[in-house]
């Protein structure tokens, strides 16, 4: 099938692919051909009265129908002036047709409830073999259980593909909160997925001043929507999976709710200290970011300050939006990359391996930009085995650009090539017009929708259709780096293998990745771990540390394949 797909793309791309940027990378905007026409409605278009209209939402790549091809979920928002019922925007589900196009199955999906969605996490919470969805909202967060009736011959083909089980799962909240980041993970390593939910702030529209009418409602002399400063903070939540389809709120006994006074956004679960227990890093807006260290006994402690990931190198707080993990310097340790507000720089925290991180942003080549940066990935875009950086941006103050053109509402994307020496180079203008196209973007996800061996990008554009950027690193008549893609299936551990850590040995180098259920900005990447291998055609060894801590190894694995590895206790 891959070869057929390539042939089709070859026709579409005639005369588009360009070599010679030294990066051997090119992105083509294939959104229209792929079938993404519906805009993601989110608040006002040219002005934003309240902060609820500004933050936007995430997107997801995941294989919901288990056909080996990743599908697309885009979240949606609303408008302050209510739309007619039949025009109510919602999340949208697109199934991969395996030919470079997608079919919109939203009406049948059961996901079409309106609301202000924020973040998404994806995983098989009931270990039934079908991938489920959890979405945070301003209001009631929702857990959607995958019903598994995807085949035409399914017993009830007219039944929704997903069922809202929020109430029966014990996740229905009493008060109206503004859920933000969220992540499935198995914090107690009992083999099922628990759930972390961040809350951004307490937002009651009638209590928030209008633009210009408060101390945090002005930017560069222009009245703008107020906040987050000045608005009340909230606390975060942890739900333990009881293993019977229900969850128990353990936010207080676990210590998660102890951390206060933060505007929590994206949640990234990763084992930062390599003790085999998953920790949680939460990017926080305008306040110190949180690193919940798993104490291995059901409790967590925020250690961000002493570990060096709460602030920048001078100890100053930044407006954390999106966050990604990856080993940028090839030392076998996972580092963090976090995006921030305009006139600031993103932060790259290098894991020293001695229990703390150091801010190496400037040394790595990052500097201030006029863009508010959101979704991001520390991913290998050119299969050279070094993770690069891709970031999307968009202003929260559309009103400002009329006065100051240097702060445009719609922004280009930013691509930084990892030079393999600890430094990155901005190559945004060298990788195609699609990257330079301007949108007010928020979430983005990375995955290989055409199974051709390179990472494509899905982007949420506020009040515009989502964008699918196809990576042309591997394309007809082009030679790309080798790669290996691993699909992990847990048996003893949670079936989605969230939290699994994979190491690859290629010659003198060790590549490392971990399977997480949320990253970037409120988004979910293709759960198949993608490793660029450069010129290496045979991987010496693959080591999987499954979420329960057991290790499995494979040797002499050939490149350029999608390999499914099922957890084995042998």
């Amino acid at each position: 099938m891959t070869c057929c797909v390539r042939l089709i793309f070859g026709v579409l791309l005639a005369g588009v692919a360009v070599e010679g940027n030294g990066f051997n990378l090119w992105f083509a905007d294939v959104s229209k051909e792929a079938g993404f026409a519906e805009p993601v409605v989110y608040g006002g278009v040219e002005s934003k009265k309240y902060i609820i209209e500004t933050n936007g939402c995430g997107v997801a790549f995941a294989d919901f129908d288990n056909d080996g091809w990743i599908d697309v979920l885009t979240l949606g928002g609303s408008r302050l002036n209510r739309l007619p019922q039949d025009q109510n925007p919602a999340s949208r589900l697109y199934l991969n047709r395996r030919d470079g196009t997608f079919i919109d199955v939203t009406r049948r999906s059961g996901l079409d409830q309106p609301g202000w969605a924020s973040g998404v996490t994806i995983g098989d919470f009931d270990n039934d073999g079908w991938t489920d969805i959890f979405v945070t909202y301003w209001g009631q967060n929702r857990l959607y259980r995958n019903q598994g009736n995807w085949r035409r011959e399914a017993p009830n083909p007219s039944e929704p593909l997903f069922r809202d089980v929020t109430q029966s799962a014990g996740l229905a909240g009493i008060e109206r909160r503004w859920g933000s980041g969220c992540a499935f993970f198995d914090y107690d390593r009992d083999g099922d997925l628990d759930l972390f939910v961040a809350n951004y702030l307490k937002f009651e529209i009638e209590k928030v001043p209008t633009p210009g009418n408060g101390p945090n409602c002005q930017w560069k002399g222009i009245p703008v929507n107020c906040g987050p400063r000045g608005l009340p903070t909230d606390t975060n939540l942890l739900y333990r999976n009881r293993g019977d389809g229900t969850f128990e709120d353990v936010s207080h006994p676990s210590g998660i709710a102890i951390v206060q006074d933060r505007y929590a956004m994206t949640a990234l679960v990763t084992d930062f200290n390599d003790d085999s227990w998953p920790d949680i890093y939460v990017a926080c807006d305008s306040t110190a970011s949180i690193l919940y260290r798993n104490n291995q006994n059901g409790t967590f402690t925020d250690v961000a300050l002493e570990v060096g990931v709460a602030y920048n190198e001078d100890g100053q707080s930044q407006a954390g939006m999106g966050v990604a993990a990856g080993d940028f310097d090839g030392d076998g340790l996972l580092d963090f990359f976090k995006t921030h507000f305009a006139d600031d720089l993103p932060v790259l925290y290098r894991n020293t391996g001695q229990g703390y991180f150091e801010d190496v942003s400037r040394a790595a080549g990052f500097d201030h930009t006029p863009f508010v940066q959101w979704g991001t990935g520390l991913v290998d875009l050119d299969n050279d085995s070094w993770p690069d950086v891709f970031t999307v941006a968009g202003s929260v103050y559309p009103e400002v650009e009329a006065r100051f053109s240097e702060y445009p509402h719609r922004n280009p994307r930013l691509v930084y090539r990892n030079l393999g020496n600890g430094r990155f180079r901005d190559i945004s203008k060298e990788v195609g017009e699609a990257v330079q196209s301007r949108y007010s973007s928020r979430g983005c996800a990375f995955g290989d929708f055409d199974n051709d061996g390179d990472l494509d990008v899905l982007i949420m554009n506020m009040n515009d259709p989502p964008q699918l950027l196809r990576n042309e690193h591997i394309a007809p008549n082009r030679t790309g780096g080798n790669w290996l893609k691993l699909r992990l299936v847990g048996t003893h551990s949670n079936r989605s293998a969230v939290g699994a850590r994979v190491r690859l040995w290629i010659g003198q180098r060790v590549l490392i990745q971990e399977l997480s259920s949320q990253s970037g900005y409120y988004s979910h990447n293709d759960p198949r771990l993608h490793f660029g291998l450069g010129a290496v055609s045979l991987v010496d060894r693959v080591e999987i540390r499954w979420p329960k801590g057991n290790i499995q190894t494979l040797e002499n694995v050939r490149s350029n394949q999608i390999l499914t590895i099922t957890e084995s206790l042998k």
Binding site: P215, Q218, W219, G221, E313, Y356, D367
Partner: protein, 369 residues
């Protein structure tokens, strides 16, 4: 009466506003002058000559006494018990507004004092004071355009002070009225209205208000009028660095040093700019020069400590940072960097304590100071 708890409020507001979004200064380490002067910004608005003399009987006098004693809540309690006709009297409305102003309830203050302003005859003390307080209230509410007509009323009056001029100038800047602001600040600083100097001062104020783009234009105007005016290139250099034009910023700072060789801040920013380029060896000499020119400012000590930390010279980093902290004990960036030195040298417990100290000193920290 402590009518001017609000003056403290003003001071805090200005500082807070600067902290909020003034990222221009975020690259530095919040260095502060050791011999810092705690400037009491007193607003002399006690123009209550139009009110009954103290000691007289009656609710008006009682309310006035309470306000003068700083007991605004009690004053409002008395007002609430009064007959509606008494409450509607212009002077009582004025005092009610004043009480709300003292309590920081600026919306209510505007309601009562605007009424007092409208009813008072032009040029009277009552009208002038009402104008000042309504203008200030609007300012605190970020209603800059609404504040301006009231603040304009103060011109030439006893309340036309440096502080009200400052607030007026800020309101003019926030409403993008650059020329009016320039005139206001020129009067405040006693420089010619349409000079290079007035542009320099206006640009400084613009930077404090996060209006960097306007500041660049204003500074270029100053440069055109007087190419050798000190500090113009310094500010342009800072703004270039803020916009990530590090090479351009460094060049401007070097030009500033050529015409203003004793200006410690220029060396400090130059060292810091080299640091942003990771040119730590080049950063150290200008930072040292800055310290030798002005040993009472902790900023260059802290950046110098950071330079040694980045170079892996942990001994010098520790010594310099400790020296900086002995001068400026509440500098959270200094403590944060020192914690990193301890971390790098394996003194984890000392690092933890320094991190906690930094956290406690952080602005807006919820931990006890």
């Amino acid at each position: 009466m402590d009518a001017f708890r609000s003056s403290e409020h003003l001071f805090n507001y200005v500082v807070k506003d600067g902290d909020k979004l003034n990222l221009l200064y975020r690259d530095v380490n919040a260095g502060t002058v050791v011999t810092k002067m705690r400037t009491p910004l007193i607003l002399p608005v006690l123009l209550l000559g139009f009110l009954p003399a103290r000691g007289q009987e009656g609710p008006l006098a009682r309310v006035q006494e309470l306000l003068q004693a700083g007991q605004a809540k009690q004053a409002l309690t008395i007002v609430a018990t009064l007959d509606p006709n008494v409450r509607q009297q212009p002077l009582m409305q004025h005092l009610t507004g004043l009480a709300h102003y003292q309590l920081g309830d600026y919306l209510q203050a505007v309601t009562f004092l605007a009424s007092s302003f409208a009813q008072a005859a032009k040029g009277t003390s009552q009208r002038i004071q009402a104008a000042q307080l309504v203008g200030m209230s609007h300012y605190f509410l970020n209603r800059f355009a609404e504040a301006l007509p009231y603040l304009a009323e103060l011109e030439g009056s006893p309340l036309d002070t440096a502080e009200t001029q400052y607030v007026r100038g800020i309101c003019q800047l926030q409403t993008q009225n650059v020329q009016e602001a320039r005139r206001t600040f020129a009067r405040m600083f006693a420089v010619p209205a349409d000079s290079a100097s007035s542009r320099l001062i206006n640009a400084q104020m613009m930077i404090r208000q996060n209006l960097e783009e306007l500041a660049v234009q204003e500074l270029q105007g100053a440069l055109a009028l007087d190419p050798r005016l000190p500090q113009v290139r310094f500010l342009l250099g800072e703004l270039a660095i803020y916009k990530s034009d590090l090479d351009g910023g460094i060049e401007l700072l070097k030009q500033e040093i050529e015409i203003n060789p004793g200006f410690a801040m220029a060396y400090y920013r130059l060292g810091e700019a080299y640091g942003r380029q990771q040119r730590w060896d080049e950063a150290i000499p200008p930072l040292q020069k800055s310290i030798w020119l002005n040993p009472f400012f902790s900023g260059p000590f802290i950046v110098l400590g950071k330079a040694y930390l980045k170079k892996g010279d942990n001994t010098n980093a520790e010594n310099i940072l400790k020296r900086a902290l002995s001068m400026d004990v509440n500098n959270y960036s200094g403590h944060y960097l020192l914690a990193q030195v301890y971390q790098k040298t394996g003194r984890m417990e000392e690092a933890r304590k320094e991190f906690q100290t930094a956290e406690r000193l952080r602005p807006n920290s919820n931990q006890p100071q």
